[in-house]
Symmetry: C2
Subunit: 400 residues, 2 copies
């Protein structure tokens, strides 16, 4: 960005892809396959409206006063209960409520990173995590989890300030981290003591089969009593209910939660009590479960439509693996001349927007892939969007 | 805090006063004069409940989807209109919606401070600002605005990354920055180009007379067209309506708003749409104005009760100036043996909680004053609280 002011140095480095996505939403006839937006038609507005009304009228102080920094005690209990099972023992001391999942990433950077700290990050990496940590100028040790080679999690985590992975349908790659790799990560986190962030916005979005165990659960198995291990699990309502409440949560060892609480004190004091009360009711009344089946049904159809359209239109231009869940297909250009930063602009000229891979690389160097979202658009639009993308790709190749 | 983890270095430095306040709220019979909490009885819960209901049901996407990072366009317009007048010209490009006033401080630190940056800060300094900026390890040039000497604002701002003042009833000192000093700050900000943060949570809480002009207005006078000057004005709903919606706003030059938007993208993506819609309605329907008169009437009574009780019980132990508004009385111990960090603990043993001055000093060295809140407690409690404080102070003196 251009300005006469002496802004902090990291601002010179920031990506503007997220802003391009959001602006793309306002261009008429633009088909936005770039963002990670959920489908709004399944939102139970009438029920949430009632919950909001009752929260303010019947629990006025909880809804409208400052909350405890850590979150409303009853909401923390409800979240702990949600993840409790025979082996995973959580109490409210394991839970921090955050202002969306993004705040959890920001707070983790705040408590773990002095300037230049080393992060072992799954590659490609969620661009929001890169945004959150950029002001602390970290260095990255990229973890490539895909492919046939056994991944050495111990070497990856050793000496890092923390590790970061999205085991369920990674953003952007849609990759589902296999059970054996999960186990080796948990082994490595326990052996090295390095905190390992398990970012799990898409954990409810399994489209083809039963969920794999969480790293949190694999880690909790190893101990007796309330959780005190190295996994820091991040959840959010944004993909399982609605994003506009800005409710996320961290589950971790109590000393990590305490440090995050000190960081949150200086970030926004507390999350909206009103939004927390709605979240508490949504969990308690089973609202998440009620909307899951219709959501998955829509997403599965759209994933299939998108992949069929890609097969029909893009198979000579890109290669990809059909994801088993989540929100995205990650497609790699076959022709090495394709620079997906340039493709973004050509695609927008053709009326479709996708995310270029540079946004998911700490160095910005990876320019051969794109992320395509399948959750937001109806089948017709997915079909048209993919045709436009094929046209744009061919146009870019013809020009190069 | 004590932990086996390799946390970032600043965590070793953080104050725990805010956590002590909040915990004090849960001790039976404790009279909490420490916090900065508003009186909840004036909150129009029924009206806010209706607004919440309608926001979700009638504006579902705005309330429940992701908002633009900068905030909902209509809310930004309403905020701009609120501050517009003949001389101050604002558009939505001058406005960023934040997750409470605290987030504005955090974001300003993020965009302005590389590690160790210099802040020219009004002394004593709001502890939340110290909390927000602590992770960036800034240095402070303290600005002492009280007393008879003419303050040299130019020398204070020159070379600083930014200046920070709370002109209306400063937290903690309750000091009202006089018009001449305001003018000299605006002159100095224009002359040096240094951004000057005008933090104004208490600007509606004038108890004795008409408000002085904002620095924003004094600065806007100097130019034609939409605001592009060096004042960065911070507002919040927390003290003029309710804190639990976590709605604040920044007004500033468009390039500052753009930089803050990039910072907010990596902090929480956006503020809750539901809370923003309620704020927009509250402004549009005049709800702020409706509850102002009853709020001021309660606060004026309580301020007078508190100061009378102090006069009757503390006049040999402390000296203070009766504030003309805001939420706090700042009292300086007459006996230099009194360490108010120790007094906090003795006072809590006696059933009353106040804020020690060390929390408002970047170095923590100032230990001779206390901040006393008058807005949260009813007159009887204020009287008992001050008697307990007198007992505690005498006990501490007897022990020293």
């Amino acid at each position: 960005m251009i300005s006469k002011r002496p802004f902090a140095k990291w601002l010179g480095d920031t990506n503007e892809v997220t802003r391009i996505f959001l602006a793309a939403g306002e261009i008429p006839d633009m088909i936005n396959l770039a963002g990670g937006l959920p489908e709004p038609s399944v939102w139970p507005a009438d029920i949430i409206a009632d919950m909001a009304y009752k929260a303010v009228l019947e629990n006025t102080e909880e809804a409208l006063a400052y909350s405890p920094i850590e979150g409303l005690p009853r909401l923390r209990d409800v979240i702990a209960e949600r993840y409790n099972n025979n082996e995973t023992k959580l109490t409210r001391d394991n839970v921090l409520v955050t202002t969306g999942g993004m705040q959890a990433l920001d707070l983790l950077g705040k408590i773990m990173l002095d300037e230049g700290g080393l992060i072992a990050g799954q590659f490609p990496t969620y661009l929001g995590a890169l945004d959150a940590w950029r002001p602390r100028k970290p260095s990255y040790r990229p973890m490539h989890l895909e492919g046939n080679k056994k991944f050495d999690a111990h070497a990856a985590l050793e000496g890092a300030k923390f590790g970061y992975i999205v085991p369920n349908f990674s953003n952007p790659s849609g990759f589902l981290v296999p059970l054996e790799t999960r186990k080796s990560f948990v082994d490595a986190a326990h052996a090295t003591g390095t905190l390992l962030i398990e970012d799990d916005p898409y954990g409810t979005l399994y489209l083809d089969g039963p969920p794999l165990p969480r790293l949190l659960d694999l880690s909790a198995k190893r101990q007796i009593g309330p959780y005190d291990g190295p996994i820091v699990y991040l959840g959010t309502l944004s993909k399982m209910l609605v994003p506009g409440l800005r409710i996320g949560w961290v589950i971790g060892a109590p000393d990590v939660i305490t440090a995050l609480t000190l960081a949150k004190q200086g970030s926004d004091i507390c999350t909206s009590g009103l939004c927390q009360k709605i979240a508490q009711e949504a969990f308690s009344q089973g609202l998440i479960e009620d909307i899951l089946a219709p959501t998955l049904s829509i997403y599965k159809t759209r994933r299939d439509v998108l992949c069929d359209a890609m097969e029909a239109n893009l198979s000579e231009l890109f290669q990809w693996t059909k994801p088993q869940g989540g929100m995205f297909v990650w497609a790699q250009a076959i022709d090495p001349r394709i620079d997906t930063n340039l493709l973004l602009h050509t695609a927008m000229d053709c009326g479709v927007c996708v995310s270029p891979s540079s946004a998911f690389d700490p160095s910005g160097a990876n320019k051969n892939s794109i992320r395509i979202n399948f959750t937001l658009n109806e089948p017709d639009k997915l079909n048209v969007g993919i045709k436009r993308l094929a046209t744009a790709t061919r146009r870019l190749l013809a020009e190069s």
